[in-house]
Symmetry: C2
Subunit: 194 residues, 2 copies
DNA sequence: TGCGTAAACGAACGGTCGTGCTATTCTTCG
DNA sequence: CGAAGAATAGCACGACCGTTCGTTTACGCA
């Protein structure tokens, strides 16, 4: 990895963390440069526009997400165990983020702003729902989940829990946020079992 | 209502709609003034800072929400009917908003930005959850819901459905978003019944 | 070691931002 | 109708925005 690629990665790493707080639109090239100890123009040269930076931030975060959530979860045995791993890996990822999940933050920021960034996010979110659904299906074929389970609905329900966890932990700071999320998840599993 | 109060209301009305797209931070006094056909300083004089404007936008939206969602729902008969009315009124409110629900949008924007706006939002969200919980309790005392129902969990689960609806409709534009939300809600009710 | 290129820099651009002032216009009420 | 006061306009400010340009530094390879 050349020098350029290296700093580009560092910028994306920092920017994706920063975006959790200030949003993708709230990212400022000048501030990023200041925080990273480089010049505005030097940083800007790696991307050709702020819009491109935003798209690449989402792409970078997406790669991370696959690496840290999806891939580890897929190593769990097929069936309910893998569904559970997916949920737990997401929760672990969520708690590892100092300032919340960038995707959850971006959902409401971009849902009304057409553009490449929005398209990238929507695609990522569709993929995520597909992964949940596919993993749920392994539990159906393994016989642990009902044969007539609506796996699409299951994926949406499971993701709902993650969204609620985000709200209860980050904005409301409810002390029982995590137990509540776990209870909802266990209830979801109960309803899905054969 | 004097002239001042009148234009202040008009500004808040427009700004709260605009905030759904660009966020509370994305609101610009200059742009608001331009769109409303008045001068920047004239508009600014009604609020004494942008932060105050943001807080008042949330307050304005909060009043609207009480008027258009909570109050009508409370007119439904106690019990499951009222729970259902609450959900339906929220869905109707959501669909009436051209650019999404400002509260859902603000959740992820403000959850990492301490300040009066964040406090106001958190308070509004706590109230909303309390309303759901209280209404669910009327269904418990009426005997329609299980006596041992965890109404707090019910409130969180019900709100989760709203959050998911926001995602599926606004970002993903899933054609079956509404049926999915309804299915989740009916399932929630089924699990709550005596 | 030296050369070619990639990477970072510094300065500047036109704009827009939020926020003060002061002056002017409009409302309201005696 | 006319005066007091509220509401709005006009203008200026310093700061920061994304972006461009020409220059300088640093790296990678012959």
């Amino acid at each position: 990895m050349g020098k350029g690629e290296q700093t580009r990665e560092a910028v994306l790493e920092f920017a994706s963390a920063r975006a959790c707080t200030v949003g993708l639109e709230g990212l400022s090239i000048g501030e990023l440069a200041r925080e990273l100890g480089m010049s505005k123009s030097g940083l800007f040269a790696h991307f050709q526009s702020k819009a491109a930076l935003q798209v690449q931030v989402l792409g970078h975060a997406s790669d991370r997400f696959v690496e840290e959530v999806i891939r580890p979860a897929l190593r769990a045995p097929r069936g309910e165990a893998r569904v559970r791993a997916l949920f737990e890996m997401w929760v672990a990822w969520f708690h590892r983020q100092q300032h919340g999940c960038i995707f959850v933050a971006a959902i409401t920021e971009l849902d009304d702003r057409p553009g490449e960034a929005r398209d990238a996010l929507a695609s990522q979110q569709r993929d995520w729902l597909d992964v949940i659904e596919t993993v749920a299906r392994t539990a159906v074929t393994s016989g642990e989940f009902r044969a007539d389970l609506d796996t699409r609905q299951f994926a949406l329900d499971m993701y709902s829990i993650a969204l609620m966890l985000h709200l209860t932990v980050r904005l409301l700071a409810l002390p029982d946020a995590m137990p509540r999320a776990n209870a909802a998840f266990e209830n979801l599993l109960k309803g899905a079992r054969a």
